[in-house]
Amino acid sequence: MNSSNRKTRARWARKIRPLFTVYLPLLPYVLFALFPLYFMLVTSLKSNAELYDVNAVPFWISRGLTGDHYALLSTDTPFWSWFANSLIVSVASTVISVILGVLAAYPLARLRFAGSASFGIAIFVTYLVPPSLLFLPLTTVVNWLGLSDTLWALIVVYPTFLVPFCTWLLMGYFRTVPKEIEECAMLDGCSRLQSMLRIMLPAAVPGVICAALFAFTLSWNEFLYSLVFVSPAELKTMTVGVFSELIRGDIYYWGALMAGATIGSLPIVVAYVFFLDYYVSGLTSGAIK
């Protein structure tokens, strides 16, 4: 009786312990990270009367939910075309950059040719040059290409920071895949290209997904280039559209701004939730055990 009692207590302690050592210490960070999202959601669902009442508590809704701000987005602004623009631009530039990134990262990680190290460093350096330094020269380039005020301008420009990023990330990942499996494939008669496409890529799927996910997030959040290169209201991406059409003069449409931000953050959430399992499971299952 006594020993079983001790056993249940030990089991209970094992269950309760992570609560104090893991979850409680994590709680403040989680709250800190989630608070802006919560505030965004609450503000977007609040009626204007409560929103602009100085005496109302800003952290929750006490006078009823309203969908007015979302309705205003749909009726007064071309919000859904901004959404579509963001989606088109992000998906297109992500696909382009991941393909180019894979093609660039493979030789840099695997082949030894004259200047391979300096190519890697050059790519790293281009990644470190910020958009705020590049947007003025790029304006000239975009005008010269005749692409200004089209979505193509963004699809062409975003890879300038996405390709170095993807290349750098994939280079690191490709290096962790053992050389031996590729050597095996080549002994069996694979060419370099086949070995890259059939051996390296399947082994590096988590890395590729990770690169695509980050690239998508980066281009979805992009603000400066989108602000500079596209000015017609219906061609704007979401980040710029919400900012420029919902702040009129010194009037801030806070509810609608927050509603736009809430809808804007959904695709990222969906993308992460959808790919997270894939990503984590891929990470843990190595090619050679």
Binding site: F124, L128, V129, P130, S132, L136, P137, T139, L224, V228
Partner: protein, 53 residues
Amino acid sequence: MNMTHLFATYSFALGLQGGQIGQGAAVSLFLFPILLAVVFVQLRLVRKAALYE
């Protein structure tokens, strides 16, 4: 007046909204030497990390 500008916002205001692309470019290029120092340090760190691989 323009006290709270960052380099990026100031060069945007000068170069694109003000139409003086040269001045805007000059402002944004002012970042370059600072950046160079940062890149130098980072490259050294990256190389050091690569040695241990």
